[in-house]
Amino acid sequence: MAIDVVRPPVLPPRAGSTRRSALIVFGALAAVAIWIRVGDPEGTAWAQNFFIVFGSLLVEAMPFVLLGAFVSAAIEVFVPTSTFAKLALLPRPLQLPAAALAGVAFPVCECGSVPVARRLAQKGLAPGAAITFMLAAPILNPVVIASTYVAYRGHDSLWIMVIGRLVLGFLVAVSVGWVVGATTKDELLRPRSDDGDLDLVEEGEPRWARFASHLTGDFLFMGRFLVLGAAIAAAVQTFIPESIVGRVANLPILSLVAMMGLAFLMSLCSESDAFVAASFTQFGPAAQLAFLVSGPMIDLKLGALYAGTYRKGLLRTIVIVVFSVTLVGTLWVQVVFG
């Protein structure tokens, strides 16, 4: 049976204060709307580019975040805590690969896997396994495998890209999980002073109401970081030309680093990034593989989500391990396949 943390009744807010802050925020939103209509920021080319990319990232990602929040809320309300306690007893060499392969059953983008991993860790799954699942799910899922196949169909490097992405993605995710290792839940998850504001549950509330509370809480929590990450990614796509990385296309290690950096900046969805990677014809298969493996695990949009969810140390660990293991793996690919 799932156990909700029922918070003690809080003091009633001052109605005037609540009303005043709500009115100020509503007024600010109205002012933005008026400024857009009067100022016509889209008359400026860079502003138009920024708003279109920003909007498109959110329109595509929000439903996935919501799907992730649905799964997360269902885990909280319907899956007994004892289930995860039993899973946590499994030996770690088994836990991590199993967590990585669980992504096959969860075909959503990286944005959806973050709230699920957070909930899994909260419910008692070993933090390393939760992180492994979060990083592997956006790569080891049937939709992404199929899109990678379609994007590279007809290329000589087809199977290097499809199999390489699967194998290296698996290895990188397990490596991060292994490094996170014995971290406890409290060391993993960022303490949030406003946590209680997000998914308040009252004693005796029916299950569906608790489900709605947790769902809304996860959506709010992830939503604000998604908005921030999408804004940063849109700004990068607006002001930084992709051609700047083309200058290092023929340099052995720098080409790999450049493509990982580009994947970080572009913040693409893992279901479409193969089509973009394939368009970088000046880069070899190894560099394109580096783009495809590191991008769904760490980018600007995800960086904002991770920073809000996990402690700083973990974000640092993810960045260092993802980049170094991907670099080593793709260097092997570069040596063997050119």
């Binding site: 009744p9 809080v10 009633p12 807010p13 802050s21 709500a22 100020i24 925020v25 939103l29 933005v32 709307a33 857009i36 016509d40 889209e42 080319a45 860079w46 138009q48 580019n49 708003f51 279109i52 990319v53 498109s56 990232l57 959110l58 595509e60 929000m62 439903p63 996935f64 919501l66 899109s147 169909r153 007809g154 290329h155 504001d197 308040l200 009252e202 569906w208 109401a209 489900f211 709605a212 769902l215 809304t216 959506f219 709010l220 939503g223 604000r224 990614a233 849109a234 796509q237 030309p241 051609s243 572009m266 693409l268 969805c269 479409s272 089509f275 973009v276 394939a278 368009s279 970088f280």
Partner: protein, 235 residues
């Protein structure tokens, strides 16, 4: 105990409702095509339905025994998440313009999603032309159709070195969302000099000539057209 409306739950319910409204609006107005491709169109109705259900659930449970505060900080958080809704609803419909060309890679390379057989038969499309430039088989198939009549739509772009009667007819190819857009271009010759400005949408009719690794369209007619309802191509 007397139950009362929770300001926090009502506020979050309204936020979810605003997002639900945005997705229904995109669906009803057709503006979804400005943000996602036909391939990922399904996220729009899915988002609309899920958000509507969530909104209903949140508002249905908004009456509580103990009042829940809506702090100033939380009000601003809700406002920040609502901001994109306001932006998308208020901004006039627009697409990526020539400004983005220097910040995107070209479609060449990923164009092999179109087979040589597709290029060899049927009407020649913009995607066929872009795809032909990425594979030997595709170019061979297109060369066999040299001199055939084509009708293409795109926006005008010019680069230094182009003759006065030439333009680069351009479309963006979007796989999932606009963030992954790549550009496809074809050189059009015999265009009335000075009549069209960059970013103008035009319809071009003419004959196609693959020359070496380049593809030209010798225009017999070029006319201004309104922006298509689906401005991005999907491979």
């Amino acid at each position: 105990m007397k139950r009362s409306w929770s300001p926090f739950r009502v506020g979050t319910g309204l936020l979810m409702g605003a997002w639900a409204f945005l997705f229904w609006f995109l669906l009803a107005s057709g503006r979804w095509s400005l943000y996602v491709s036909t391939r990922t169109f399904w996220v729009v109705p899915t988002g609309a339905i899920l958000l509507t259900i969530t909104t209903a659930g949140r508002l249905r449970s908004a009456r509580v025994d103990h009042a829940e505060p809506l702090s100033t900080r939380m009000s601003w958080t809700l406002g920040a998440i609502a901001l994109p809704v306001v932006l998308i609803l208020t901004l006039p419909p627009a697409t990526l313009s020539g400004y983005a060309l220097g910040r995107r890679s070209s479609f060449v390379g990923s164009g092999v999603t179109v087979s040589a057989d597709d290029i060899a038969s049927g009407q020649i499309s913009f995607i066929d032309i872009a795809a032909a430039q990425s594979s030997k088989e595709g170019m061979v198939a297109l060369r066999a159709r040299a001199g055939e009549q084509v009708s293409l739509e795109g926006f005008v772009w010019r680069e230094p070195g182009l003759a006065a009667d030439e333009i680069l007819l351009t479309r963006y190819v979007v796989t999932c969302c606009v963030a992954d857009a790549t550009s496809a271009q074809v050189r059009v010759v015999n265009v009335p000099p000075g009549r069209f400005q960059p970013d103008d949408w035009v319809g071009v009719s003419g004959r196609i000539y693959p020359l070496g690794s380049e593809i030209l369209v010798d225009a017999s007619a070029v006319a201004a057209i309104p922006q298509p309802s689906h401005p991005y191509l999907t491979p």
